[in-house]
Amino acid sequence: MALLQNNFPTFLQGFGYTLLSSIIALIGSMILGTGFAIMQIVPQKWIQKIGNIYVQVFRNIPLLIITFFFFLVVSKYIKMSGFTSGTVALMLYTSAFIAETVRAGILAVNTGQMEGARANGLSFAQAMRYIVLPQAFRISLPSLGNQFINLVKNSSILAFVGGLDLMYQGNMIAANTFDTFSTYIIVAIFYLILTLPLSYYIQHLERKLKRAA
């Protein structure tokens, strides 16, 4: 308890950075992931190919390597902090998984929905936006929830590049106080403060959407 009291501002700062990084990466990876999911199902083969290459690249390389790539290589050309490199890497990495999740959701929506919309005069983009994607998100919600929770936990890679996040601050406090056990327990609790409400919220959404359907 004393450990928490003495280092509370530091924990809180780390918590804040983890929260910030997670929110940015979550929103960014949802947008990118949805975009790359759509790219993989448009009729144009070359666009499909690009979408597929993106997903394969970012899905099959360890997150830590992507993070180092941005921190050590990209930052030579574009100035960015450890926090930014880590968050960008997290966003791209997660977006590849979200792309696959959303793509599976789109494929699970009855093809008649797209056909009905196109025959009704809607463009491909309108049909996607108003008819197919809302249904695809509903179908993929459970797996999207998993991705979001993984994302929050994976944000701990920021610690490797001086990202000032919860894990980073935890490492610092543990090194200063030598009380590793208590420190990481507290760090774990802070992660739970983020991930548990997220899990419950997703479960709540699932139930709500189930009723609406």
Partner: protein
């Protein structure tokens, strides 16, 4: 003036020759019924008319535009040509009312108050005014199909395509849907192309009957001619089969 015109149209699925040298002309305001055994290419044919299926050769003119020309804007054709599907294809994530209002709002930019008024009138017309707020999953098959017809009509199309609109319905639901279609056919400016197995509907409503088999148009005659004295042996055989049960 012809609304839909096929000129030497060929359609393939890979090696399968689905439409063989189809020549057809459907005039504005005509109601034409397309019949034939299953696998004869009826659905394929009707689906080419609004570009859901591409043709490989020939010319297909719809409302004056050539669908085989890559420059033709398919969305513009579809604004004027509605389609009713065997499996309804209502938007599962929208209420009945929203199903009808969505396309006019997005595509025609129809004023919201007017859009709602027209949608409610159409729901009234197909007998579903009390289902406006319901989701498609809460409707019966017949109600879904009537809602789908209302959705097509809301675009004020010049032509409507019906692809086996009653084939997925329970027998007791068929009548209501056919009644709605009969009403639409009375409108002299609406062009209707209907794929169906409902011979009584064809007899009562169609101006012309087209008989297809194996991807070919075998017979194209007035309704009376077709049912009284079908010329082709395949048509005679088909009629005797459907009329004997």
């Amino acid at each position: 003036m012809s609304m839909i015109e096929f000129k030497n149209v060929e359609k393939y699925y890979g090696d399968f020759h689905a439409l063989k040298n189809v020549n057809l002309k459907i005039d504005e305001g005509e109601t034409v019924v397309l019949i034939g055994p299953s696998g004869s290419g009826k659905s394929t044919l009707i689906r080419t008319v609004n570009g859901l299926e591409e043709i490989q050769e020939g010319q297909l003119l719809v409302n004056g535009f050539d669908l085989h020309d890559p420059k033709t804007d398919m969305n513009r054709i579809r604004k004027n040509v509605g389609m009713v599907f065997q499996h309804f294809n209502l938007y599962d994530n929208k209420t009945t009312l929203e199903n009808i209002m969505l396309a006019p709002r997005l595509v025609l930019k129809r004023d919201e108050a007017e859009n709602k008024k027209i949608a409610m009138e159409l729901l009234e017309k197909v007998g579903l005014a009390d289902k406006a707020a319901n989701m498609p999953s809460e409707l019966s098959g017949g109600q879904k199909q009537r809602a789908a017809i209302a959705r097509s009509l809301a675009m004020r199309p010049k032509a409507l395509l019906f692809d086996e609109p009653t084939s997925a319905l329970d027998p007791e639901m068929v009548g209501d849907v056919l009644d709605v279609m009969r009403d639409i056919a009375k409108d002299s400016s609406m062009t209707m192309l209907v794929v169906t197995h409902e011979m009584s509907f064809a007899k009562a409503v169609a101006d012309r009957v087209i008989f297809m088999a194996d991807g070919q148009v075998l017979e194209d005659s007035t309704t009376q001619e077709f049912f009284d004295s079908p010329k082709e042996a395949r048509a005679q055989q088909f009629l005797s089969q459907v009329e004997h049960h």
